[in-house]
Symmetry: C2
Subunit: 232 residues, 2 copies
DNA sequence: GTCTATAGGCTGATAGAC
DNA sequence: GTCTATCAGCCTATAGAC
């Protein structure tokens, strides 16, 4: 868990019937499941309470209302995502491998939180970026930016605008995974077989590595360092 | 206009006060503006009627309810989009140029219907693809598929899975344009300057052309035709 | 075809008992 | 902390006058 402390808040004398943290967690989980699927307006507090197995009044008590719960869900998802992607940078010997790990991390994340991309896309499309998640979004953008810059420093990538690079890469990823359930539902009425996440990731990696290859692509890779601190 | 006939339904004896087609059009336009921004659940029939300058009862009369109007909006947008992109194929001397025109057409479209990408993303993420729009979606996918296949035939592109190619390209495009309003709103609180649509399109084109370049990239391009009818 | 008026359901929030 | 009961507001759809 990310947002709440790990230990279950020691109970003082056994007076309380249940663990209040469990209630919060159940609500967060219900929100994480329902909001991405139906959107904020598509989910009622009744839905959330039922799914969490608690009373709907507790949403207001713990999160100050439906919107509060929504923001908490959003934030916890972004925190986890940003953490996950940030670790990528440590384990990579070079930018080429860093890109590979980044894509793998994204794919892995969609296993644990398969509907996070949808949550993210909805957020970006409707309300706009909520102030609470902006720092984590920027943190993710910093990862891709460092990847692009490092690759250029290492002579593996040509110089590209890191912001454009980020939106092209993350946009394709987010879109693919957010629309995955829709594809699966449409599968019977469609004349092509479902692309797997693995195949897509591989395609994207291939396109990116080739797309970023320096102008003169010879066998020896790390040869020229060129101007080091050059910035436009 | 696309969905309705061009001529304004000849009036028989001047009995009617107004043109009913005008009502339909006003509602479609109101929907095209409001649904992408707030989502289906986020818009009330009152909102729609007010924006269209007509009475809310007319939504049920003309479209059989709010959902009916939504589907009509969706369909008209997809029809226009698919038409627009299909023309790309005619004017292109080769696949390389076809890709360029495809991206340009997409960008142009976002000028006339700036919120279509958001509408599309919402649709794909939530309800799933509506049966009414599926044919047009497939029509768009056929354009990208032909582009990929033609490029390979012409010796300009290496062989890639057209479905993966489609989702990577259109995903990045859709994401970028759908999130454009969110970026603009977040601009003051963000440490980088706004990427322009033009720059993004250029980046994407560059990445795609390089990413699709055949293995052996020599000067002469259209030299080897290889096996022609080979399909897996 | 267009309008007004209204029905009937569901929504999110909260007061108050335990 | 958790629950029950309840409220006021908004929602979509429609009957019926014009």
């Amino acid at each position: 868990m990310v947002t709440s402390l790990a230990r279950p808040s020691r109970r003082k004398k056994g007076r309380e019937r249940r663990d209040p943290d469990a209630t919060r967690r159940a609500l967060l989980e219900a929100g994480a499941r329902l909001f991405p699927e139906k959107g904020f307006d598509g989910v009622s507090v009744e839905d959330l309470a039922t799914r969490a197995g608690i009373n709907k009044a507790l949403i207001s008590y713990h999160f100050g209302g439906k919107r509060g719960l929504y923001v908490a869900v959003l934030e916890s998802a972004f925190v986890e995502m940003a953490e996950r992607l940030r670790t990528v940078e440590d384990g990579a010997p070079d930018a080429r491998e860093g890109l590979h790990l980044f894509l793998r991390a994204f794919e892995d994340m969609t296993r644990g939180r398969p509907d996070f991309p949808a949550l993210f896309l909805r957020e970006a499309v409707s309300t706009g970026i909520h102030p609470a998640v902006l720092p984590h979004l920027l943190s993710i953008m910093r990862v891709t930016r460092r990847l692009a810059e490092r690759g250029h420093r290492e002579g593996l990538f040509r110089r590209v605008d890191p912001v454009l690079f980020h939106f092209a890469l993350v946009g394709a990823l987010g879109f693919f995974f957010a629309t995955e359930p829709a594809r699966r539902r449409a599968a019977p009425h469609v004349p092509f077989k479902q692309p797997t996440a693995q195949a897509f990731i591989h395609h994207l990696e291939e396109m990116t590595v080739r797309g970023l290859a320096p102008e003169a692509s010879s066998e020896t890779k790390k040869k020229s360092k060129k101007r080091k601190g050059a910035r436009s």
